[in-house]
Symmetry: C2
Subunit: 210 residues, 2 copies
């Protein structure tokens, strides 16, 4: 199926247009990759298909030469049209079963918060899962119950596919998070809030020890 090695999940950046504060999306992602980000998700819940497609094409020019997969949030059509590497869906997005069916050999990721979510991810052959929120976070105001390391560990142990932890993962807690068995961590604000995203990514790679 999809070509996703677990080590490509080590440091996962999901983008958020509100956190760019005037910086160019592609420049910022390029800095993040230079600092050690291994996979990128284009996420913009408000954008129409046109700007989202253009952003995907511009990002691919940076991610592809770096061997970094580009995942599109929710918009499977933008993935298909741009030739991006994969799609990530959650509970409010296109149903996972339909996504898997239409995505073909592309990478399919799914957001998991409960054992029921995990069962669906297994049933629909998601290539990876994002488990969260691991810790309290303000980036996704609609986020569900915080799992903590114990809840995270339970879901990771039961998951046959590689997983990343998402939600409130920081320099301080990322090593303990990794020790739960996830293949990597997903961060948004911890990489986009600092003015120097490259240095922030380097610090995460150091803290992760990978």
């Amino acid at each position: 199926m999809a070509r996703l090695a677990p080590e490509q999940l080590t440091l996962y950046l999901a983008t958020d247009p509100d956190l760019l504060r005037g910086r160019d999306l592609v420049d910022t992602v390029a800095e993040a990759i230079a600092g050690g980000v291994t996979i990128v998700q284009l996420r913009d819940k408000q954008a129409d298909g046109g700007p989202m497609y253009e952003a995907a094409c511009r990002l691919l020019a940076v991610t592809r030469p770096a061997g970094v997969p580009l995942i599109i949030n929710d918009r499977l059509d933008v993935m298909l049209a741009s030739g991006a590497d994969g799609i990530h869906v959650g509970a409010s997005d296109l149903p996972l079963a339909k996504t898997r069916e239409l995505a073909g050999d592309h990478i399919v990721g799914y957001s998991v918060n409960t054992p029921e979510d995990l069962a669906l991810a297994i049933q629909c052959r998601a290539d990876y899962i994002g488990i969260g929120p691991a810790f309290p976070t303000s980036t996704k105001p609609d986020a569900r119950a915080t799992l903590g390391l114990e809840g995270l560990g339970k879901l990771v142990t039961a998951a046959p596919m590689p997983a990343v932890a998402i939600g409130g993962v920081s320099l301080e807690n990322c090593a303990a998070t990794l020790a739960c068995g996830v293949a990597g961590i997903c961060v948004i604000s911890a990489l986009l809030n600092p003015a120097d995203t490259r240095a922030a990514a380097q610090r995460f790679r150091t803290a992760l020890g990978r």
Copy 2:
């Protein structure tokens, strides 16, 4: 290609969640169809893929038995996943060429405001076009230059595919609009603002004389 007879464009309803004012989307569309609407576009620029997909599936249960095509705005993936009949894109949506490529035999509609838009619609083999805004309108605040009957007529004459006029089309001007050569008219608020959408659709069919 797509199965769209020009007479199916006679009275085209594009939905707008803000105009439902608590009424159920599917019930309202069913009333519109009972009153004479011949084609329906699901349009919700703010919705995630999940709610949009569910709405499409629920609408298909009403449109399909009536022989009324269901067109999805911008979200080609929702069209593919739900099995809806077609996709409509405009300048801010997924590029028309990519849309045509990915849509296969589904109906593809394109929004046209200028001769350049029309040239692209022809080049990409759009199955129908929506020409507008025909008259001043408040439904789409980002709308481009108002065409008037003269501008509408010029574009219609040059179009090899069937066209609907959109933007400010009313009971008062719809007969004159039709006389420009369009296959039909597209309305949003004129059908959704009235509490009795069925009666409003019937009045339009009477005024159109078709």
